[in-house]
């Protein structure tokens, strides 16, 4: 059996690349280390081009409304609910802070405008700032012109806001701790950084991409499952594959279990760059290998599920009462400890309740039973449920099971030094690698995690 291309990993990006390649007439094999398909929802915007190109008719995009429920502390209790409808959100915010309610629509408009710029950047390979190629220069000039046409304010916002911390940004606009906590939480998603760290405003906007104005939680979808059900590519599950390279050329993959080698002139990996490239380090320029080693991918999120007897009243619950709460949660992580009081968020998709807990820093790649129990108890307590109802997976466990280095879901933190032409490694942002015939197409490449399929499509286009 021979293939034109082998794709490592049957996640959204791997499958998107595989299907684009298959549509271009290639015989494609996808090798996935996990046996079953992942039941958890895909988080983030699925670029409409991908949906159209691949005809994803079964794709279900979900965005609960209200999109977030924020428990309010203090004696009265109660909640703050933010909805897609601007007027409803304004009314809800007015109850906690009339001044913030005033600011809300303008804030949403400004953020939406920057997210629009990011969307445009994300649907193509990152601008190549070193290029001498006339077409690429023209593309960059076009991008520059597009941004400038959005007006002076957007240009200034881009320069000012992206490097800011989410705390500074929100403090500029709002007074309510509850509101700032819930918004600020998005700024720290999958970052080993706190809300006062520079660049978290960018991370906030990254996760706003694809959302309507006034919604600051990404869409959820079943894109991976939809892709997995489609015909056109062969998927082999339960097999770990490593790239085989010789004389600077990829020649195929070797399957770990059987030791069998499958040959193909093209290998595309949606696994994380470090895991992909480390075994073939001997084929690489040591400086390149060093850059790969230097990718920051410090897992800090425990993910899992919540089992309740009956459906909860909320569709999305955020426990992040203030920016200071988040900052203190981060302080623990800085010194390698799980947050004493973590940020917890529950998202409902159909009947499934998924939990996001931050910060649970990656330690040493081993599962620690006691730590695990403490964590589940802590989270259960915060949610007011029994510990047995919470099932969590720490970054260490994530690494053991999925192979993502340090259990980082995005294969590299979305910090300003690891985006665009710096992702995954400075100077190698065009999905190619120094190994001929080996490409990357996962979340570790531009535009990164939280936008399932975008990297996959860009990579496929770069290959074709």
């Amino acid at each position: 059996m021979s293939y034109d291309a082998i794709v490592i990993g049957a996640g959204a990006n791997g499958l998107v690349t595989a299907h684009y390649l298959a549509r271009a007439g290639k015989r494609v094999l996808v090798v996935e280390r996990r046996h079953g398909a992942d039941p958890s929802a895909d988080i983030g915007w699925v670029p409409p081009r991908v949906v159209r190109d691949l005809g994803l008719r079964d794709l279900r995009l979900e965005q609960p409304d209200p999109w977030i429920t924020i428990p309010l502390g203090g004696g009265g209790g109660g909640t703050l609910e933010l909805s897609r409808d601007m007027a409803r959100s304004v009314d809800a915010i007015r109850r906690v802070s009339p001044a913030d309610a005033e600011q809300w629509p303008e804030f949403c408009r400004r953020m939406r405008s920057i997210a629009g710029v990011l969307e445009r950047l994300y649907l193509a390979p990152p601008p190549d700032i070193e290029t001498r190629n006339a077409r690429e220069l023209a593309r960059m000039a076009g991008l520059g012109l597009y941004v400038r046409r959005l007006g002076k304010q957007t240009v200034i916002d881009l320069a000012r806001i992206l490097p800011m911390s989410i705390a500074e940004l929100l403090d500029d606009w709002f007074a309510s701790d509850a509101l700032k906590g819930a918004l600020g939480a998005l700024g720290i998603w999958h970052l080993k950084q706190g809300p006062r760290s520079g660049g978290t405003a960018f991370n906030f906007l990254h996760h706003h991409v694809g959302c309507p104005a006034g919604v600051f939680r990404p869409l959820r979808s079943n894109v991976t499952q939809t892709l997995a059900r489609m015909t056109g590519v062969e998927i082999r599950r339960g097999e770990r594959a490593a790239v085989v390279a010789k004389h600077g050329r990829a020649t195929g993959v070797v399957l770990e279990k059987s030791g069998d080698t499958i040959l193909a002139p093209l290998v595309v990996s949606s696994a994380d760059p470090r895991a992909t490239l480390h075994p073939i380090a001997i084929e690489l320029d040591p400086e390149f290998a060093r850059a790969v080693d230097n990718i920051k991918a410090r897992g800090v999120v425990a993910r899992g599920t919540l089992t309740l007897d009956q459906a909860p009243s909320y569709s999305s619950l955020c426990i992040a009462p203030s920016l200071e709460y988040l900052e203190r949660a981060y302080d623990d992580a800085k010194y390698g400890r799980d947050s004493a009081a973590p940020y917890v968020e529950v998202q409902r998709t159909d009947s499934r309740l998924e939990v996001h807990v931050q910060y649970v820093p990656y330690t040493d790649g081993t599962a620690n039973v006691q730590r695990h129990q403490t964590l589940q108890q802590k989270v259960a307590q915060q949610l007011g449920v029994q510990a047995s109802q919470v099932k969590l997976q720490s970054p260490d466990e994530e690494e053991l099971q999925r192979g993502a280095t340090e259990g980082h879901l995005y294969h590299g933190e979305l910090t300003l030094d690891q985006i665009l032409f710096m992702r995954p490694v400075p100077g190698w942002s065009r999905y190619r690698t120094p190994i001929e015939g080996l490409y990357l197409c996962g979340a570790g490449t531009h535009p990164g995690g939280g936008i399932p399929g975008a990297a996959g499509r860009n990579a496929a286009r770069a290959i074709l």
Partner: protein, 399 residues
């Protein structure tokens, strides 16, 4: 804290007549022991000179993938080398530009000693990803002596109490001197018959004493860096930071050189797996070869004498080797075609020699060029001819 002294300092210190020391890799070593380096130089070519070369950086590389690591790093084929062999080799960055040069001693199937002019530990580590190999910096632990000259074999045979006639050029052997285990390699930096003796730093002094005691009858002479510098130019041997810049130190691209440009094409293997710089070096070869050549120059005596005569002086000769960048012009004296980086008077060959980088079109042996010389504060040009390296290559070196 101050500068460090080598394990031989208790012996070399008192020998220094003029307290002429220089720095080498954070150590002090003798420039010359006597007030003039003349006798020390002549010992190299006439009897035997003993150099303390302990400041060299030395690394012990062991383990299953030791030779794979070295093959990944250097341009020569280490995998093909046999136990007991010593390889001189450069190593490059990914662009095929030379980082450093040194030797690799094959001490065992999975045991190598690498020497370098610059610290190399980090570079070896960076290259060792995924390999089963241990890298140990043994620079401080290992003392090294270099015994060079026509009498070196006789002295060492007596000291080691064994026949060394079978030890071929760039081969090594284990031995004992006064019961102290040493490694003897037939290597050196003089282009002459010579050996290097490697010994644990704690047992260094008795080895020195043994060589001096036995060697005195054969004219053994402790020698310093000034004498060595003349000899290495005669032998056409490169010196880092003088004749070329490490690509890792270069500030601009133009300061970097490939081994092909440095006359080390013979060290660039064509029969091995991927190593750093391979693609670039192959491309350089395919693309018509290097655009620069590293070669010798002989400055014409008559021309030099004439320039000095014009101002009423006899020619002044550089009896100490110089290290500077000196422009080289074409025959007409108008177009600069390269630059010399080292030079000096060879007392043995009786000629003014220089090592130079020349554009490939001006580098053919015999080509006439002009070298800038300063005569009584005025810049002049002396005629010189391209001379193949080495200037001096005695049969005894390999015999």
């Amino acid at each position: 804290m101050s500068l460090r002294t080598t394990p031989f300092h208790s012996r070399t210190g008192p020998l220094s007549e003029g307290q002429a020391w220089r720095r080498w890799a954070g150590y002090v070593v003798a420039s010359s022991y006597e007030l003039s380096h003349d006798r020390e130089y002549h010992a190299i070519r006439n009897a035997a000179a003993l150099f303390d070369v302990s400041p060299l950086y030395k690394y012990l590389i062991t383990g299953r993938d030791a030779s794979r690591l070295l093959d990944h790093v250097v341009t020569r084929n280490v995998g093909k080398a046999k136990v007991g062999q010593v390889l001189y080799t450069p190593w490059c960055d990914n662009d095929g530009k030379q980082i450093d040069d040194g030797t690799i001693s094959v001490l065992g199937e999975q045991r190598f000693r690498m020497t370098s002019a610059d610290p190399t530990l980090r570079w070896l580590h960076l290259n060792s990803r995924g390999l089963e190999v241990a890298i140990e910096d043994v620079s401080d632990r290992t003392a090294a002596l270099s015994l060079q000259g026509p009498s070196s074999r006789e002295i060492l045979q007596l000291a080691a109490e064994r026949d060394l006639s079978g030890l071929k050029y760039f081969r090594l052997t284990d031995a004992k001197i006064r019961g102290i285990p040493v490694t003897i390699s037939r290597t050196g930096y003089t282009g002459d018959l010579g050996y290097e003796v490697w010994v644990d730093a704690t047992q260094a002094v008795p080895v020195w004493d043994a060589l001096i005691e036995i060697g005195t009858a054969y004219g053994i002479t402790p020698a310093g860096m000034l004498a060595l510098d003349v000899a290495r130019i005669e032998a056409g041997l490169l010196l880092i930071e003088v004749d070329y810049f490490s690509s890792r130190h270069a500030l601009i691209e133009a300061q970097k050189s490939s081994p092909l440009e440095l006359g080390l094409g013979w060290t660039v293997a064509t029969d091995k797996e991927r190593y750093n710089g391979q693609a670039a070096l192959e491309a350089e070869r395919m693309g018509g070869g290097p655009s620069w050549q590293f070669t010798g120059l002989t400055v014409d005596w008559d021309s030099l004498e004439r320039l000095y005569a014009e101002v009423g002086l006899p020619p002044r000769l550089p009896t100490q080797a110089w290290r500077a960048s000196v422009p080289i012009y074409d025959r007409g004296g108008n177009r600069q075609v390269g630059y010399a980086t080292s030079g000096g008077w060879s007392p043995l060959l009786k000629r003014y020699m220089a090592l130079a980088h020349l554009g490939s079109d001006s580098a053919a042996p015999g080509t006439e060029v002009r070298m800038e010389v300063t005569v009584e504060h005025h810049r002049k040009q002396a005629t010189a001819h391209v001379t193949p390296l080495p200037f001096f290559n005695p049969d005894r070196k390999r015999a």
